[in-house]
Symmetry: C2
Subunit: 438 residues, 2 copies
């Protein structure tokens, strides 16, 4: 392979011809790339324009999880996820809790954050004094950009100078809080910050006797601990009386709490525990055209805020009552960005009744808590593999076009064996050969 | 809306009819759900079976990032991502570094982790003694499950009893390390752990005089700090001489280091910095059918391992040399799971030359470092918005079918204004009306 120049200017077929010459793709792969284009040119153009050098689309199945009772309203959640059993787990959990009061959610804040990082060679107090004198001027300088957001209830809500860190002398940042209404607000925040940075520079240029200011960079922070949502389910422990033939309702509640407590204290468990929460949350984030990298980075950093990585959910059991709660920062939008452009994101938002950003935070948290509940329930009763493998085996049997009898025999055979597609295929071949010989 | 029973048993059209009755979907949404099914029934069945209650597919564009020179081999990376500019950023960075030695990568380990959590009422030393006596027996009990993995170079590599945490008296876990060859190994690890748990129970059942053991749960950990990959680029700082009209090569290198150092010490910046790394990594993880929730949870927990959330990459500049490196835990597979089932994941792996899991770790890390490099470069030179907005504006103008003249005027008009689809659309309407009146 040789370095290729001007690749982004190639047409789609030029790109694929080049790739084929360099890597010798199979006919099957070339066909797969073709058949995954959307059948309507105008819609395909939308997908092609979302990213660069696009040659096809990657499919993630969109499933429906009904029976989510959230603050008294029943909803059906569109979930986009490639991992089997996530939608099933969400649905089971949703239905169980719909019969026991549902999910209670609460938005604790929606503050977004941006920073202008800079160095200042002079005295810190002088910097602070100059900033205090000029703050109104600075805010006024960006009103042409913030006016529209202010009409929607957003805008800049605070602005402070912070020194960076003891290890970084002379480093400071402007720490700006924003409200961005129903938008995630990345473009808005970054545009305002870049403008503030250039104003800040100009402001201090005139008076270099006190010190020199140099801008390093201006950018939103994906860490938004004050854009926070809470979600919980609550019931008498007796609702768990049919959870397991081996556990009484109280035993189930206690064992559930044990499992959650382990995730509070053991980072090896906490990571997997939280990963299960994100299984549910990301499925909503993807479906609605939001940015799962932003949500993941923020949520996991929040999970480590007390110095040791810990779980995002907790369980309280006392006097026959069970409460399971999740607190997670989420920065999401239901207008702007991909939400208005991506056809399937638009469809997902319609399925949800075109929610506000605050409502989407709450729905997303409920999906996370629902999946967390199902995962712990499986882990402390049947084990995670039984459900997984049953589903996995079922899918593979369907793909291998197994008959009812073959399905019955394979299910028995693989009950105590590790399952793989090749083993299953070999097993079916063996019983099919056997039948032919009989 | 009412609680629905037996929803998972409904056919696709029954599901959609029910949803439509409950939420009154638009004709457009129903059409979108239909037209996003794959045109070939057999392929659509594969996607439908990946998850549950599936009614359509969510499209993420697949783009190509050429010119990745990794340990001397040139590669083209398939990247699946909905965020504009990620593939462009990766490609720019790849081409730049291909001319300056490329990416150097190194796998530091591939250990996976699983835990059997349990309580033990007796003396800890007795537990340890019983475990030591029975360890071989325990390992032998799972050889029917591990034999095949051992042939591929994997299997169990260590097994220890750990006490859980001072806050959790009488809680312990069996801490098991695995190698899983080219598989991510989740099903394998969970099956082995569940079997070990049941053996462990049986082993101690006979001798309850010393204490009682109760299994809480058995599950792999997504935290795999010993499945670790390193990646770096390195050059004389003079390679940066054309990076910016305002910065000399040395100034660029120093400012780049400043930006990276801020991300080391400031969690608000570290989260966004690492998010940019995951932009590139997740695009590979998605394309190859791996689990981005697992990779995200692990990587961010690793970023917090020293008690404060920090950046995963670092910069060293000394004596005219620049080195930019990333160290990140990655647990990925190139066989098993979705990799063999998802048609587009198979295509992506073929584009990459069907790599081993270790090679995929290295490619993924290179994509992460490439995106991190481009992000910092933009931030410290033109700012992040210039590139973003240019691309964003271009896409929207294409969608609004703007003429060359309209494109020229809109580009000038929005140079100093916040861009939104509705504003752009209104602006185009206004100049189109103007033209009609002339």
């Amino acid at each position: 392979m040789q370095i290729v120049n001007g690749f982004s200017k190639f047409s789609r077929s030029e790109k694929l011809n080049w790739l084929n010459r360099e890597t010798n793709l199979s006919q099957q792969t070339l066909e797969i790339l073709d058949t995954h284009l959307h059948r309507e040119e105008a819609i395909q153009e939308v997908y092609g324009d979302l990213s660069e050098n696009t040659v096809s689309n990657y499919y993630l199945p969109l499933g429906l999880a009904p029976n989510f009772l959230i603050n008294g309203d029943l909803m059906t959640l569109p979930m986009v996820i490639e991992e089997s059993s996530v939608v099933a787990a969400a649905s089971h959990s949703a239905k169980f809790w719909a019969l026991h009061g549902g999910f209670h959610t609460n938005v604790l804040g929606t503050s977004k954050v941006g920073q202008v990082h800079f160095t200042w060679s002079g005295d810190p107090e002088t910097l602070q004094a100059i900033f205090n004198q000029n703050m109104v001027l600075l805010l006024n300088s960006v009103t042409p950009m913030t006016r529209k957001m202010e009409k929607r209830g957003g805008g800049i809500t605070s602005m402070e100078i912070h020194s960076a860190h003891p290890e970084l002398p002379r480093h400071y940042h402007l720490f700006v809080r924003f409200k961005t209404a129903d938008a995630m607000g990345a473009n808005f925040i970054n545009s305002v910050l870049e403008s503030l940075a250039s104003q800040l520079s100009q402001m201090l240029e005139n008076d270099v006797s006190e010190g020199r200011l140099e801008i390093i960079m201006s950018i939103l922070s994906n860490y938004t601990p004050e854009s926070l949502v809470q979600c919980y389910v609550e019931a008498k422990t007796e609702v768990f009386r049919n959870m397991s033939p081996e556990l009484s309702a109280d035993q189930f509640a206690r064992k559930f709490q044990q499992a959650a407590d382990i995730a509070t204290h053991d980072p090896y468990r906490a990571v997997t525990h939280n990963k299960g929460i994100f299984n549910g949350m990301d499925a909503l984030i993807l479906a609605t055209g939001n940015d799962f990298r932003a949500v993941e980075a923020c949520g996991h950093a929040y999970a480590s805020r007390n110095g040791s990585y810990s779980s995002l959910s907790r369980v309280d059991v006392s006097e026959g009552s069970f409460r399971f709660s999740l607190e997670v920062p989420l920065s999401v939008g239901t207008v702007g960005g991909l939400t208005g452009v991506h056809p399937m994101a638009r469809a997902s938002l319609e399925i949800l009744g075109n929610p506000s950003a605050e409502l989407l935070m709450q729905i997303t948290a409920a999906a996370g808590l629902a999946n967390n509940f199902s995962a712990i329930r499986s882990l402390i009763t049947t084990g995670i593999q039984q459900g997984h493998m049953k589903m996995h085996l079922g899918n593979m049997l369907r793909q291998l076009k197994a008959s009812k009898e073959e399905t019955r025999r394979a299910t028995r055979y693989f009950a105590n064996r590790t399952l793989s597609y090749s083993d299953l295929s070999a097993y079916l071949d063996s019983i099919r050969n056997q039948n032919q010989q009989e």
